[in-house]
Symmetry: none
Subunit: 411 residues, 2 copies
């Protein structure tokens, strides 16, 4: 069974927004053996949505519409789908009650237009949305399955997993798609490709894609087979060779982020970490604490933008800054050692650099970053020159800092 | 003249890739007064592309296809467009010569299939690609304009600007599109809509869209007119009413983020800020320092995950934590006042809370966050209960902290 995804919303036709729900949906549909053949994006226009939906009905057995289920006047998906399918909308008492209860719990008056979300096309089933007032809707119509989902990802994603996935599992053809993702740090894309192209080239199935993102190269394998174990076996056959070729540059094989992997190592080795950052402005602490449970190993951070704070809170000697400048190897070292000493952490990390776009000089250009790592074995300091925007420099700096921590505790 | 963008490529139908060329194209087309009404994404399949292209011909005067112009067998756009339009492909001698020259310069033998890129549908014009071997193609066909562009952004973007934009300028109706974005904090989406629906409902032009994202509601107005000043006048007529209705909940009218607006206020008032954060783990410092030039007003931050750091670095009295717990009003207050005193900042912000998903209790559930703001007028403390995931709680907490700073310095 092939699928088409229709994303509804005028904001998705502006230069600022793109449809990201379809990435989540594609992943989930693929896992069920369903291939996405078309994606369409259309604005909040009755006529345009009707045109697009009619075309989808003619070519796609499964149609998933996202967005346009909100309470406002420009939320039209429910109405247009009902009209094109020739089904009347009727109010579901239970939905009305749920919406009223929700507002009562929040202690707020319910605007009348919220009740539009209690309406479902005749013959359609509503799907419980635990994170919002717009339910999903499931309609089987003359050989098509039509699914309506709310636009916000935090509503759509759990709703899909809880209600749509099991329903689709029952009707899907049975072919299974499985993927494996190797995340690599410290090698450029072309080198990754050179290493593994001779390995993946003989295989059509799994299909291999190499994807470069900020500070990480991802190698995606995607296998199709009649059963899950068969798809997994195909993945393993090629994947194990690729993993061997990439060696310890692979930091994750299950989709984990670098900060997640570092966290797991820290827990395993019963180590703690503290950070003192300048140009990354808290991003390293923020990445480390994205992980639930990070309070076990993350003791704290100091964001010392001003020299005063470097001196007072991270214990950097003032004459060191005078002698070498705030962006220098000795200051990076002092930050790492200072924050380690003050927090009694196993590992201290210090970052100082120039994120740009301003503040660079001939000697110390934008993109220059020093990262230091201090532990009981001593202090390691690395100098980096990152290209690109402020965002990119900051992200790369934290990526390499995390990679230094990963390698240190893994050894 | 309305447009449709068709992105061709099977990789765009995987969970890993989304079409980003259309964002660039939409921006450029809007500047020419051309509205994008549909975006379609289709794989490297002759049949599927033909289906999609036929539908586009029927509904869209301008069709821009991207991708599928490469030299390999699965690059089908040229062939399918020629076939659907009933035009034969013919080889252009100049293009053949260019491709051969290019390979000669690189000192590589030219694979025969590269010559497919020298083919152009009869009656079509080719558009020079200075950064690759695939030329663009421009075809005027029975009232439709069809443009084929190469997929790689570094080829597509300069090619579009150099060759398509001037051609489109000549044929475009002359209408201009201008947008205005109001960003609102502190009001739920339905309340925003209730406040402004009576204002925008009478207007077809500008068109109004309401968009809820994490901690911000955006109201987008989009006006079309024959001239830019006329479009701006239309925006102003409705926009000013909307701005008045939403009052000081509007924090930005030019697309700025909340941290950008706060930064501008701080510079204007010559104030400085320092933060001591617990559950947000550095996110508040990170958001403040995203802004280039933030070192003028951001003095630093302390990420005090452990109680020791709250005591040692932010000066929170130990008995306060014992008496009230780390997540409490008095500790939030002590964090804000402590970090302000230690850094001599005009404003100190303290955040403590439970981001979850674990660590909650009956008295202090996940999502409970205290935010304190200390300045020379005293300390304000607010208690929040944020729903949702760890990510959301952390984002919301920093959003409300920034909003408290904005209101304090604006007054």
């Amino acid at each position: 069974m092939d699928a088409e995804i229709i994303a509804v919303g005028s904001e998705l036709l502006t230069p600022q927004h793109s449809d990201t729900n379809s990435l989540f949906l594609t992943e989930r549909l693929n896992n069920l053996g369903i291939l996405v053949r078309f994606k369409t994006i259309v604005g909040d226009s009755k006529e345009d949505l009707a045109t697009v939906f009619r075309a989808a009905l003619a070519r796609s057995p499964l149609i998933v519409l996202t967005g346009g289920l909100g309470p406002t006047e420009d939320d039209l998906t429910r109405d247009v789908v009902a009209e094109v399918l020739g089904r009347r909308l009727h109010e579901v008492a239970e939905l009305r009650q749920r919406i009223q209860d929700r507002f009562a719990r929040l202690g707020r008056p319910m605007p009348e237009n919220n009740l539009r979300q209690a309406q479902v096309p005749e013959g359609g089933e509503w799907l419980e949305n635990r994170n919002g007032t717009a339910p999903g809707i499931w309609i089987e119509h003359k050989g098509n399955i039509v699914v309506l989902l709310p636009g916000p990802p935090r509503e759509l994603e759990p709703l899909f997993d809880a209600t749509c996935a099991p329903r689709l599992e029952r009707v899907a053809s049975g072919a299974r798609i499985r993927t494996r993702i190797y995340k690599v740090v410290g090698l450029p894309e072309s080198e990754v490709d050179q290493l593994i192209a001779p390995l993946y080239r003989p295989y059509q199935n799994p299909a291999t894609t190499i994807l470069a993102s900020l500070g990480t190269i991802e190698v995606h394998l995607r296998a199709r087979a009649a059963t899950e174990p068969e798809a997994e076996a195909r993945l393993a056959e090629l994947g194990d060779k690729i993993e061997l070729a990439l060696g310890d540059h692979v930091y994750s094989t299950k989709g984990e982020s670098l900060e997640e992997v570092v966290g797991m190592y820290l827990v395993m080795r019963q180590k703690t970490v503290a950070v003192a950052e300048s140009c990354t402005g808290g991003l390293l602490a923020e990445r480390l604490t994205r992980i639930s449970g990070s309070s076990i190993y993350f003791l704290g951070g100091i964001v010392c933008y001003s020299n005063e704070l470097k001196i007072r809170c991270a214990g950097v000697p003032a004459d060191l800054i005078d002698a070498h400048g705030a962006v220098s190897k000795p200051v990076a070292q002092a930050l790492a050692e200072g924050v380690r000493a003050r927090t009694a952490a196993s590992i201290g990390v210090g970052i100082t650099g120039i994120a740009g776009p301003t503040g660079g000089s001939k000697d110390k250009p934008v993109g220059l970053v020093f990262v230091a790592l201090a532990d009981e074995r001593g202090t390691q300091i690395r100098e980096f020159h990152f290209p690109g925007s402020r965002d990119r420099v900051r992200h790369w700096a934290t990526q390499m800092a995390l990679e230094m921590v990963r390698r240190r505790i893994r050894d």
